[in-house]
C-alpha cells in the first residue's frame, strides 16, 4: 500500500500543528465560533447532538494493521471505546472533546493518517472497490488512480471552495462494488481493444434529496489523461455550478439543468486546453504509484482445498461463513474475507476498540497486513490463504465478528441517524437493529438470498436508501418518526433509484412492513435463483403495494 514520503509527512505534520494552534486559540476565545467552524470542518470536526464528531479519512478504504490498531487506541483513549465505519470508507468517533482533537490528530499522523477534507465543499475521500487488488474479476487495481486523485485533490487551491462537496469513486471491475454511478464522478477502469488502460467516465450521480444516476460522458479515457479530464470536469462545475442554493449546488443538478450533451461539450472544450499540458500523467509516475500497490508475494498454498473441505465437514458455522463471507481471489490459493460489522442486533458499522485491535492482529498474522473498509460498512481481509480460512474464522468467532450475513438482509447500511446526527430527522440504527433481529435466522436469510437493505435518517441519504433493493427513509412528521419505504434501488453496474411504495410507517410498524415485502417476494419469485431486485424489476411495485396496503392500494 501507499507509504507517505517526506513531503506527505511534513505536510500532515504541519497541518496538525496548524489545527492544534487554531483549537488552542478557539479555546482561549481568540477566535469566534463563526470563524472557527469552517476551520474545524476542514479538519473533519463536526458538532453532533451529544458531542463533537471526528471523521478520519481512510483513503480508498485501505488500512494496515498498525493503522487499525491506532484507530482502536484512539477509540479507547479519547472516545467511548468504539468507532463507526461509514459509507465513505471512513471512520467516525462520536464523543471526542475538542481539547483532545489535536492529540488525536498527532496520533493519527504517526501512522500516516489524518482527517483533512472529510468535510467541507471540497473533493472528499476517494472511494474504491473494497476488493481492489484482490478481486478475480478486475482488469487492474484501481487504487493507484485513487491515490493519484488523492494527491492531486488534497488542498487543491482551485477546488477547495467548490459550490458543494464532491465525491469520486473508482472501480476496476465490470461488477461495480463501489457504487460509482451515484458519485459526482465515477470512474470505471477498463482496457480497450489494444489492451491499454483507461476509464469510462460517469458524471453527475448522487443521492440526497435529488437522487440521480450518473451519465457516462466518455467510454474510454486513456489513463494518462485522468487528471486533465477530471480537472476539466471540476472547472466546468466550479464555474457554472450553482452557489445560490445549497440544495441545487451539486454537479448532478448542473448536469441535469445543462443537459449531458452540452455539459460534455463544455468539458471536452476545457480538456482540449489541458490535455497535453502538465496534468498529463507521465508513465513513470503512474508506475511509481502503482508499485506501492504491488500485490503481496503470494506463495502457492495448494493445501487450502483439502483444509477447507475438512473444515466444512467439521463446522457448520464455518461452512455457512465460507459460503457467504468469502469471495473468490485472483490467486486460486487465496480468498478475500468480509468481516461483517452487522452482528444480529448490532449497530451497523460499529466496532469496539478491542475488536479493531484483534482484527489488526488477524490481518497481520494471516492477511499480509492488509485491510479494507467497505462502503457497505464492513471490514475486509483482501488476501487470506484458503489454508488459513478456518484459523481466521475461529479468531473472528472469538471477537463476535463471524456473522455469516454478507450481502443478506441483515447486512444493512445505516447512517448514525437521530441517535447521534445533528441533521437527522429520525433514528436509523434502532430500525436496523430490529429488522436484523426479526430476520436473525441465517437459514431464513439465506433462503431470501441477496438483498440490500439501506436506511437513512434524513433526506441527505448517508445511509444510501435510494439505492437499496429495499430502502428506508426516516422523516419527522408531526413530531414523530415516520419511515418511507422505497423498492427497486440498486448501486451496482445496473444502478437504479428506488421508488416510494406508498405511505410511510411508524417506528412500531416498519419492521412488519419490511417483513411483508420480503414474504411477498418469496411468494412471487420464480425460484430461489431469482433475486429480490430481479423479481422487483420483473413485476414492479404492484404485488408489494397490494401486500402492504391491500384495498387501499387498489383505490389509489
Amino acid at each position: 500500500m501507499y507509504r507517505y514520503d517526506e513531503f506527505d509527512h511534513d505536510f500532515v505534520k504541519a497541518r496538525t500543528a496548524e489545527f492544534a494552534d487554531q483549537v488552542e486559540r478557539r479555546l482561549a476565545g481568540e477566535i469566534t465560533e463563526e470563524q472557527f467552524r469552517p476551520l474545524r470542518l476542514m479538519n473533519g470536526v463536526y458538532l453532533q447532538l451529544h458531542a463533537y464528531m471526528l471523521r478520519v479519512a481512510i483513503p480508498y478504504g485501505t488500512l494496515n494493521s498498525r493503522q487499525l490498531r491506532m484507530l482502536g487506541h484512539i477509540a479507547r483513549k479519547y472516545d467511548k471505546g468504539y468507532g463507526h465505519f461509514t459509507t465513505r470508507q471512513n471512520i467516525q468517533y462520536n464523543w471526542p472533546a475538542l481539547s483532545d482533537i489535536p492529540a488525536i490528530l498527532a496520533d493519527l499522523a504517526s501512522v500516516e493518517m489524518h482527517a483533512i477534507q472529510t468535510s467541507g465543499n471540497c473533493i472528499r475521500n476517494v472511494t474504491a472497490d473494497h476488493f481492489a487488488g484482490a478481486a478475480a474479476d478486475e482488469v487492474a487495481d484501481p487504487r493507484p488512480y485513487a491515490e493519484i486523485l488523492r494527491q492531486w485533490s488534497t488542498v487543491h487551491p482551485e477546488f477547495s471552495y467548490l459550490p458543494r462537496k464532491f465525491k469520486i469513486a473508482v472501480t476496476g471491475a465490470e461488477r461495480d462494488r463501489a457504487a460509482i454511478q451515484v458519485h459526482d464522478i465515477g470512474l470505471h477502469l477498463k482496457k480497450n481493444a489494444a489492451g491499454e488502460l483507461g476509464f469510462a467516465v460517469y458524471v453527475g450521480g448522487g443521492q440526497g434529496r435529488t437522487p440521480i444516476v450518473a451519465k457516462k460522458i466518455r467510454d474510454f479515457l486513456p489513463e494518462e489523461h485522468l487528471l486533465s479530464y477530471t480537472t476539466a470536469i471540476l472547472r466546468v462545475y466550479n464555474l457554472h455550478g450553482r452557489r445560490d442554493n445549497k440544495y441545487k449546488a451539486r454537479i448532478k443538478i448542473l448536469v441535469h439543468e445543462t443537459g449531458v450533451e452540452e455539459l460534455s461539450r463544455q468539458v471536452e472544450a476545457e480538456w482540449q486546453e489541458l490535455k497535453d499540458g502538465e496534468l498529463k500523467l507521465p508513465e513513470a509516475d503512474v508506475q511509481a504509484i502503482t508499485a506501492y500497490f504491488a500485490p503481496p508475494a503470494f506463495v502457492a498454498r495448494p493445501e487450502g482445498d483439502e483444509a477447507v473441505k475438512q473444515a466444512r465437514l467439521d463446522s457448520r458455522g464455518f461452512s455457512e461463513w465460507l459460503a457467504q463471507n468469502v469471495t473468490t481471489h485472483k490467486h486460486p490459493d487465496y480468498a478475500a474475507v468480509t468481516i461483517s460489522l452487522k452482528g444480529i442486533g448490532e449497530a451497523p458499522g460499529d466496532a469496539s476498540d478491542s475488536q479493531m485491535e484483534a482484527v489488526a492482529d488477524i490481518a497481520e498474522k494471516y492477511a499480509f497486513d492488509e485491510l479494507r473498509v467497505s462502503h457497505e460498512q464492513n471490514l475486509i481481509l483482501p488476501h487470506v490463504a484458503r489454508a488459513d480460512l478456518k484459523a481466521v474464522y475461529d479468531a473472528l468467532v472469538e471477537i463476535d465478528l463471524a456473522t455469516a450475513n454478507s450481502g443478506l438482509i441483515s447486512d444493512i447500511i445505516a447512517c448514525p441517524g437521530l441517535d447521534y446526527c445533528a441533521l437527522a430527522n429520525a433514528r436509523a440504527i434502532p430500525v436496523a437493529q430490529e429488522i436484523s433481529r426479526r430476520f436473525a435466522s441465517l437459514e431464513r436469510q439465506r433462503d431470501i438470498g441477496e438483498l440490500k437493505l439501506k436506511i437513512s435518517g434524513c433526506i441527505n441519504a448517508c445511509g444510501h436508501h435510494h439505492v437499496g433493493h429495499i430502502g428506508i427513509l426516516g422523516v419527522e412528521k408531526k413530531g414523530t418518526e415516520l419511515y418511507q419505504v422505497t423498492l427497486g434501488g440498486s448501486a451496482d453496474e445496473n444502478t437504479s433509484i428506488g421508488e416510494i411504495v406508498g405511505r410511510g410507517f411508524g417506528p412500531e410498524e416498519i419492521t412488519d412492513a419490511i417483513e411483508t415485502v420480503v414474504e411477498t417476494y418469496l411468494k412471487v419469485r420464480l425460484d430461489r435463483s431469482e433475486k429480490f431486485i430481479d423479481t422487483y424489476r420483473r413485476l414492479g411495485a404492484a404485488p408489494f403495494k397490494e401486500a402492504l396496503y391491500g384495498s387501499e392500494a387498489k383505490a389509489a
Binding site: 478557539r26 479555546l27 476565545g29 469566534t32 465560533e33 458538532l47 453532533q48 447532538l49 451529544h50 458531542a51 463533537y52 467511548k80 464523543w95 471526542p96 472533546a97 475538542l98 481539547s99 449497530a347 437521530l418 441517535d419 447521534y420 445533528a422 437527522a424 430527522n425 429520525a426 433514528r427 440504527i429 434502532p430 437493529q433 419527522e476 413530531g479 414523530t480 418518526e481
Partner: protein, 102 residues
C-alpha cells in the same frame, strides 16, 4: 414553554441553562421560560454565553412538563437529553447522578 440549551465549547457536552444560572449537564433543573419576555431573556443569555466562548450551538427548545419533569417536545431534544437510544450505557442516561431525563 421553552428552555435554553447548547453544547459546551471544550468538549461538546450537551448542556442546559439552569434556574441557578449555570450551564448544567442535565435537562432537569433548567430555567423555564413561560412567556415571551422570559424567552427573550434566555435568548440574550445564550447569545452572551456564545460570545463568551462558553458554549456553541445555542437554541431555545420547546418543552412540556410531564409529572413535574421537563420533557422536550421534539424527539431530537429527548435524545440529546438522554443519549443514543441504542446505547443506554452512554450519554446522560448512563449517569443517573447527572440526569433523570432518561
Amino acid at each position: 414553554m421553552k428552555i435554553l440549551t447548547a453544547n459546551r465549547l471544550t468538549d461538546g457536552e450537551a448542556v442546559w441553562f439552569s434556574t441557578d444560572h449555570r450551564w448544567i449537564e442535565s435537562i432537569e433543573g433548567s430555567e423555564i421560560a413561560a412567556d415571551k419576555a422570559a424567552e427573550e431573556r434566555l435568548e440574550a443569555i445564550g447569545k452572551a454565553a456564545l460570545d463568551n466562548n462558553q458554549v456553541v450551538d445555542v437554541n431555545l427548545i420547546d418543552i412540556q412538563l410531564v409529572d413535574g419533569e421537563i420533557r422536550p417536545l421534539r424527539l431530537r431534544e429527548q435524545i440529546r437529553a438522554a443519549g443514543p437510544s441504542n446505547r443506554t450505557d452512554l450519554g446522560k442516561q448512563a449517569r443517573p447522578e447527572v440526569s433523570r431525563a432518561a
